[in-house]
């Protein structure tokens, strides 16, 4: 077992984990933050996307021990003081979710995309969403939500 310390959504945690504990399992099972989902478990679908030290990563493909000392943000940490993050707001305004299963990972990926590229073209949006699968929406409204969030953030 290894002792790790990390900050999740602004709160500090100290936990003992096995080497093989995945970051997504730490987040869901040990910290009770079930907003981050396990979809494919083979690093394709992006449902598990969180931010580690400001970068979007797939938490099913990262060991918890690799996040020792890191700052992690999950979907639960996106709204601040009861106010939705512009990406969250855009998702509901644009009907960019149906079942909602891909949504947390999608929101985290979009937020990261817009941080790197505040005014992405259509092609850049498609490229930026290659790591996130959605089976319900057909992506059309998700792309609209990205554009609205980009507008709002100006």
């Amino acid at each position: 077992m290894t002792k790790i310390e990390l900050t999740v959504n602004g709160k500090q945690y100290s936990r003992e984990v096995e080497g093989r504990t995945l970051l997504v399992d730490l987040i869901r099972d040990q910290l009770g933050l079930t907003g981050t989902h396990v979809g494919c478990d083979t690093s394709q679908c992006g449902c598990c996307t969180v931010h580690v030290n400001g970068r979007a990563i797939k938490s099913c493909t990262m060991l918890a021990v690799q996040a020792n000392g890191a700052e992690v943000v999950t979907i639960e940490g996106m709204a601040q003081n009861g106010k939705l993050h512009p990406v969250q707001q855009a998702f509901t305004d644009c009907h960019a979710l149906q079942c909602g299963f891909c949504t947390p990972g999608m929101i985290m990926a979009v937020a990261a995309l817009l941080k790197d590229n505040p005014h992405p073209s259509d092609e850049e949006i498609y490229h930026g969403l290659e790591g996130n699968l959605c089976r319900c929406t057909g992506y059309i409204n998700i792309v609209k939500a990205v554009k609205q969030a980009a507008q709002t953030a100006r």
Binding site: T34, D93, L133, V143
Partner: protein
């Protein structure tokens, strides 16, 4: 259908803040006795010798991502059903069934000038290329 500012659904708030409750998110005693999974993907390929599933993950089974279909234009072409007085038809996912023959017809239409008059899905690049080569020589 609606434009960008549809009425926001009541369930959206909990789904976009990570407070959805999916079956994977809780664990109750006796919750799982047995689970049955039919093949969750069409054209699942099995090795006939060993029975091993060859398309076992999305690394091998193609899943559409954003940008595959850049935009959807809606056209209205009402054809009432003849099987009931209202002329009503099913909605929801029954509409998907039309997409497959549409794609197949479009593909065959493109290949028709080469003399190809029959081709089954999946229309992979390799399969299309071989059909076109065979048509050139055959």
């Amino acid at each position: 259908m609606s434009d960008a500012h549809a009425a926001n659904r009541r369930e959206d708030l909990r789904l976009i803040t990570g407070r959805g409750r999916y079956t994977a998110d809780w664990s109750l005693p006796g919750q799982l006795h047995a689970s049955f999974l039919r093949s969750d993907r069409a054209h699942a390929l099995y090795d006939p010798g060993s029975g091993q599933l060859l398309t076992g993950s999305f690394s091998d089974y193609f899943m559409p991502r954003a940008g595959l279909i850049p935009d959807i234009r809606l056209n209205d072409h009402p054809v009432p059903s003849k099987t009931n007085v209202l002329g009503a038809k099913g909605v929801g996912e029954s509409g998907c069934t039309a997409s497959l023959p549409t794609l197949a017809n479009a593909t065959l239409d493109a290949l028709w000038p080469l003399g190809i008059q029959h081709l089954d899905m999946p229309f992979t690049p390799s399969k299309l290329w071989h059909a076109m080569q065979a048509a050139k020589t055959g």
